[in-house]
Symmetry: C2
Subunit: 329 residues, 2 copies
């Protein structure tokens, strides 16, 4: 505030009046103070602000898909951390739409949340820069922010996919398909990169027809899986890029003889009770949510930290589907 006052050529009390929206400041002075604030990237001390006003802190969570069970434990972990800090959690869902994400994040800021946790749908988050400068603590989770520096907590999508595909290769598979989410989604491309790395490490070629990215809607995934399994160069194993893809591929493979091997990214409920059990590369969504929320509240408590990237390891869980051998030729 001293820097703002010096730059605007006014007293501390005047800056305080402008920031607090109090009367007694001429329009010209107010303009100068606001320009100085913008120029200096003035940061509210959120923690002090919350305590001073004696009101409940609130944090916003911008979700990606309300109906994807992967996010359930992540969302609940964020909620539990918020509750432990006595803060309200207000949520909005972008439904995978970048415009919607932006609209929601800004709407939550306009409603005076103290901090934001974002599961990004878009890849350009410069729209949040003024909010971050104004003191809204912001942490990204599951996928990184685009074109701004910000905290992010995510899983090792590249390494996890590479391990899962290497597991299929170790089991004797040479023709392995990859079905993933849209190419503009960070986790989708990272997992595809892991698939390609495992194939390259083993000196295996990847036919163009073996890779399919797109919507996780069942019809699209079903068509993609059937296409991988037929044609001149059919695969003997499938790597599914996330839980929404996996549950549809499971249905397609249930009909096939000889059986086709499957490893899926993300664990899911009842995966172990299916026959065969579904081998997965498991993330820990609850820990993703907890670490992201802890980071947010650390910032809200006034910690001045540079933006950091936290990457959590994944875990391969063999259950049967990923251990099916390729048919003898």
């Amino acid at each position: 505030m001293k820097d703002v006052a010096a730059r605007a050529g006014v007293g501390l009390k005047t800056v305080s009046r402008v920031v607090g929206g109090e009367p007694g400041v001429t329009p010209d002075t107010e303009r100068r103070v606001r320009e100085a604030i913008d120029a200096l990237g003035f940061r509210r001390n959120d923690s002090a602000r919350v305590l001073r006003k004696g009101r409940t802190a609130s944090v916003g969570l911008v979700l990606e898909d309300l109906a994807d069970p992967f996010y359930g434990p992540l969302n609940r972990a964020v909620e539990e951390v918020a509750r432990a800090h006595g803060a309200l959690l207000i949520i909005g869902s972008s439904a995978e739409n970048p415009d919607r994400e932006r609209e929601l994040a800004l709407a939550l800021c306009a409603r005076r949340v103290d901090g934001l946790i974002v599961i990004p749908a878009g890849d350009d988050h410069r729209y949040l820069e003024p909010e971050i400068r104004a003191g809204v603590a912001t942490v990204f989770v599951d996928r990184p922010a685009g074109r701004i520096e910000a905290d992010v907590v995510l899983s090792d999508s590249f390494g996890g996919a590479r391990d899962g595909v290497a597991h299929l290769i170790a089991g004797g598979h040479r023709r392995i398909g990859f079905i993933g989410d849209h190419a503009h989604i960070h986790t989708a491309t990272e997992r595809l990169r892991g698939y390609r790395a495992a194939m390259a490490d083993a000196g295996l070629p990847v036919a163009g027809s073996w890779v399919s990215l797109g919507s996780t809607e069942p019809e699209r995934v079903r068509a993609a899986a059937r296409s991988l399994l037929t044609g001149p160069d059919p695969v003997t194993a499938v790597f599914a890029g996330n839980n929404r893809v996996t549950v549809t591929v499971v249905r397609v493979l249930a009909e096939r003889t000889p059986p086709v091997a499957l490893v899926g990214f993300d664990d899911f409920e009842l995966a172990d009770l299916l026959r065969p059990g579904v081998t997965v590369v498991a993330q820990d969504p609850a820990t993703l949510g907890r670490v992201a929320a802890d980071r947010l509240f650390h910032r809200l408590a006034g910690a001045a930290l540079p933006p950091a990237r936290t990457e959590l390891p994944t875990r391969l869980i063999p259950r049967g589907s990923g251990e099916i051998a390729p048919p003898a030729v």
Copy 2:
């Protein structure tokens, strides 16, 4: 507004000033207007208000459990209706805690939502009366409001459970257990009532040890299921009161010989791929959400409707687990 003006003995313009927070009204006049408003239950025309201010409408959704997949399609349906109306949807989760529900609902109102959809955790919603009087359209979904008259959209829990249990009885079962959610939850007691009705209709006694209500945490459900299956009067079939209970009971029953029959309330992902497939009484959560949201936007558009109760039918889906015969004696 005419009624308010007449009752307060002032002009329309004065009422408008008081409601709009404009200056030029004496404290005594303002008090008289406010008393008239309270007395008459003055209702803002929300639709007009939204249009007048030229801002985006926003509606709040108070969820019950972020990690219960049953609510995924319900939440997403509400979101889709809100989006179709160009409205922002802001969500909070009560985590099954009545105090939290109240705190969240009021926080959303304080942040000027135009309407609220509530999946109630508590059974006393009189705290919402001032908000509803002030014009916040409010619709309850999945469970009714407590101690206030309000719109509610829910499934026929009683009839669905009665049908599911009757199905087990028709298959030859006489000793049937019921494992449900906490007794303070409306759906839990309605489903228990359905179970008791089906047993009574068939002239079958219900042993006290066959009914277990409580948390849906896996440990509690596992213990309850094991207790039903052992002891002096073991059951040959189980009716599970919701999807959280069912997925745990499936695990317990997977270990049993001879096999035990199971019907669960709520369908769930992959229920058909388990062996045996799980017979369920399916609700339609997407329709619950859509009907509730449609009702809300109907009210926001200015419809002056008395509170209504909409009950959606359930559907029995036989898949194998509910058709297992009792062991021959």
